[in-house]
């Protein structure tokens, strides 16, 4: 099933499928948010945003507006 990263439920996994390079900063790529990598949504901040991810052996936090741009495959 295809969805976007911001819609992932807490404690679920997805595989990063694709995104529009123009809308995603280089830093996110360098942190390891690359197509094919597994991503886990660990926590959502109290007011629903930002979200807390585990990807590429890294714990990181991004805002939903950015997560929206990232397509993920969920089993």
């Amino acid at each position: 099933m295809n969805t976007t990263l911001d819609l992932l439920e807490k404690n679920t996994k997805g595989i990063i499928a694709d995104y529009d390079m123009q809308k995603v900063p280089l830093k996110l790529l360098e942190m390891g948010c690359l197509p094919g990598n597994e991503v886990v949504l660990l926590e959502v901040a109290p007011l629903g945003d930002p979200i807390y991810l585990y990807v590429n052996d890294t714990h990181l936090s991004i805002r939903k507006e950015l997560a929206k741009e990232i397509l993920v495959n969920v089993e």
């Binding site: 280089l26 629903g48 585990y54 590429n56």
Partner: protein
């Protein structure tokens, strides 16, 4: 043989790079858990062997050598220019055994620069505990480099690292991964533009719009390279993917990790610390503890320092010959300096807590928790760090805004941070609160004076938020906002690092402020103890004449003479000339002098008042007691009403809450924004806001 080696130390944030630096050089500096805390370029000498010395530069923590933040630009300037006098002979890339995958990305980039490189894998002492195994031999082979396992904290592997640095000539300068294969046709063309330069350097200059030596983006374009912005980004992505493919394949062979053991503590701690309810409860509890500690722990040393300066002044009067010099020291310099010294303990304690919060990794969680709350004001979660640090001092706070990538959020943070209640306001608040707020308890428990101080802290924070909300409509956003932060592992803070941060920052504050206050108190004392014309010179005769026939005691007459002298001194004349402007705020000319002189730094206010009132009482030993008692005895000459009332006292506090009374902050805003426009805007915005708010306060309460 060259016996001095230039070494550059580079690594991701939170890998303990600064601890490695300390272990090599013995110099004491701090490690940062918050991206970019190592703001300035720090260097030190390391003795590698009996005849080899290394000049080590500790570069700011960075995830990549793409210049997405200011700090990372510092790194590029050094690494790309062989003409740079500190251009490294060898680069030591520090990595963390637990985050090897991401750390190796930076390593593969560094390896492409053509500089001999050593990979120092830190925190190797944790391998067993975390269930990690690593085949170092194979890693060295595949990366085409030297690898050293170290633990800076436990001082393991440091000698091996030193030996590895000495050996730098033996290392390959070839890349470990050929990332240009991602688009070989383009990179082939690029290489031809400047055949003697490394491709990677040309690519960085082109894609990041840099200028190194005589090469820049347009000079490359002139040689026939044309790419659209989206093509540049696509190539960056392709190269990054290429690198990670290489790293993933490599780590699959050499690195084994039991994920459960590795992330257990982190996820357990985060479940509580970033929880919807508990996250905030814990954050506010920590803040409460910090501010409680600042006030309770510091009260004893404060009283002690305060008393010391009081008796010092008396002692000088006793032992030195009466005269101008004695007066200058005892009534000018000592009260001036003594006005600020008691606040050292508070400043030190606040800096200590901020260092601990950063070192443990907790600060990143605060950023995560607060981001959504800060956004309506045009700020980011990262603005919380400057806004909290601003409660100690706006100068380091504004500098810590550097790691906010979005230019608009960063500028807004810089512009409003000086509204937060820095420690220089504390002396002003405390003396005014003691003067105009009754020492009673509300409902029998809450001290009214303490409550007022708390409210002023809140007022400062609110002013910062409201200020940002107003200003965000005036600042255009040029770049789309993005927010990507690492949540580092939790670590026990290293005691030595905390203490040295606290010491260095406090020292910088005290020396910075102390210098200004020292000179100002001399100037103010001089202007107050001298005056132009006959009125000042003949004060004694004029006043004695005035009171002839009236029954005044010698003491009263002396006070009248002193008062008359002050009024006709230089400082009196300056103060009187601005009285019309400040009268609507409820201030007399003496307060006016203090307000003007404290434009340099807020804490000067108290020192100046102390100097002025000391001059006013002709410098004899104090029968009238402390400054506070003298201030409360001040009356308007025409109406005989008290000068310091609830209305004028609060008006002054409101003025100090909002006004930009600090030249050092003005200077730092200029340096960080690189814009006089915003610096002057901030100054005028804050001062106008302060003037109006103070006037409203006074007129309303009068």
């Amino acid at each position: 043989m060259k016996n001095i080696i230039n070494v550059a130390l580079i690594g991701n944030p939170n890998v303990g790079k600064t601890s490695v630096f300390n272990a090599l050089t013995g110099l004491n500096h701090k490690i940062g858990n918050y991206p970019g805390i190592t703001v300035d370029k720090i260097s030190g000498d390391a003795k590698l062997s009996n005849d080899v010395l290394a000049k080590v530069i500790d570069l700011p923590g960075t995830y990549s050598i793409n210049a997405s933040s200011l700090d990372e630009k510092i790194v590029l300037d050094l690494l790309f220019n062989p003409q740079h006098k500190e251009y490294p002979d060898v680069v030591v890339v520090v990595a963390d055994i637990e985050n090897l995958k991401r750390n190796l990305l930076l390593f593969t980039q560094i390896k492409e620069l053509g500089i001999p490189s050593v990979l120092a894998i830190n925190m190797a002492d944790r391998m067993t505990e975390k269930g990690i195994s690593l085949d170092v031999k194979q890693l060295e082979e595949k990366l085409n480099t030297k690898v050293v396992l170290i633990s800076a904290k436990k001082k393991q592997g440091i000698e091996e690292l030193k030996a590895a640095i000495i050996d730098f000539r033996n290392y390959s300068t070839e890349p470990s991964v050929n990332a240009t294969a991602a688009a070989s046709e383009f990179f082939g063309k690029l290489a031809l533009t400047y055949p003697t330069e490394p491709i990677y350097k040309l690519w960085m200059i082109y894609s990041q719009d840099l200028e190194i030596g005589s090469i820049n983006k347009s000079s490359i374009e002139e040689k026939g390279i044309q790419l659209s912005e989206s093509e540049v980004k696509r190539l960056q992505q392709k190269k990054t993917i290429k690198r990670y493919q290489f790293i993933n394949d490599l780590l699959k062979e050499v690195y084994k990790k039991d994920i459960k053991a590795a992330t257990d503590l982190l996820s357990k701690a985060d479940r509580i610390l970033t929880h919807k309810v508990w996250g905030y409860v814990i954050f506010f509890a920590i803040m409460l503890l910090v501010f409680q500690a600042i006030f309770t722990w510091s009260s004893i040393p404060m009283d002690w320092i305060d008393g010391l300066f009081g008796s010092l002044s008396t002692w000088i009067h006793e032992v030195m010959e009466p005269g101008k010099l004695t007066e200058l020291i005892a009534d000018g310099i000592i009260p001036g300096i003594g006005g600020i010294m008691p606040f050292i303990p508070q400043i030190a304690i606040l800096f200590m807590f901020i260092a601990i919060l950063e070192e443990t990794g907790y600060m990143s969680r605060v950023v995560f928790l607060m981001d959504r709350l800060m956004r309506p004001f045009g700020l980011s979660g990262k603005s919380v760090v400057p806004l909290i640090s601003g409660n100690a001092c706006a100068i380091p706070a504004i500098m810590s805004a550097r790691n906010i990538e979005n230019p608009k959020e960063r500028l807004l943070t810089i512009l409003v941070t000086p509204f937060t209640t820095c420690s220089a306001r504390i002396p002003v608040y405390i003396i005014l609160i003691a003067l105009v707020i009754p020492d009673t308890k509300l409902f029998g428990v809450i001290g009214l004076q303490g409550l007022t101080l708390t409210l002023f802290y809140l007022l400062g924070f609110l002013a910062a938020l409201v200020g940002a909300w107003i200003l965000k409509f005036f600042i255009r956003s040029e770049k789309k906002s993005y927010f990507v932060i690492e949540m580092p592992n939790y670590r026990m803070p290293i005691f030595k690092n905390v203490v040295s941060t606290m010491y260095e920052k406090t020292k910088a504050f005290v020396i910075g402020a102390g210098k200004i206050i020292f000179f100002l108190s001399i100037i103010i004392w001089f202007l107050g103890a001298h005056g132009p014309g006959e009125k000042y010179e003949n004060a004694e005769e004029i006043v004695t004449e005035q009171y002839k026939g009236q029954s005044v005691s010698e003491k009263e007459l002396e006070d009248h003479i002193a008062g008359y002298k002050l009024e006709n001194s230089y400082i009196g004349i300056i103060g009187k000339s601005i009285e019309p402007v400040i009268k609507p705020l409820g201030y007399d000319w003496k307060i006016g002098i203090a307000v003007i002189s404290s434009f340099v730094a807020r804490e000067v206010f108290v020192g100046t008042l102390a100097t002025i009132y000391n001059v006013g009482s002709s410098g004899e030993e104090d029968e009238d007691g402390t400054i506070k008692q003298r201030m409360s005895a001040e009356v308007w000459p025409d109406t005989k009403e008290k000068v310091f009332t609830l209305a004028s006292g609060l008006s002054l506090m409101v003025f100090y809450a909002f006004a930009m009374q600090c030249t050092s902050t003005v200077a730092i805003t200029r340096r960080e924004t690189k814009s006089w426009k915003w610096t002057i805007f901030q100054l005028i915005f804050m001062t106008a806001f302060a003037y109006l708010a103070a006037m409203l306060t006074f007129q309303f309460l009068k």
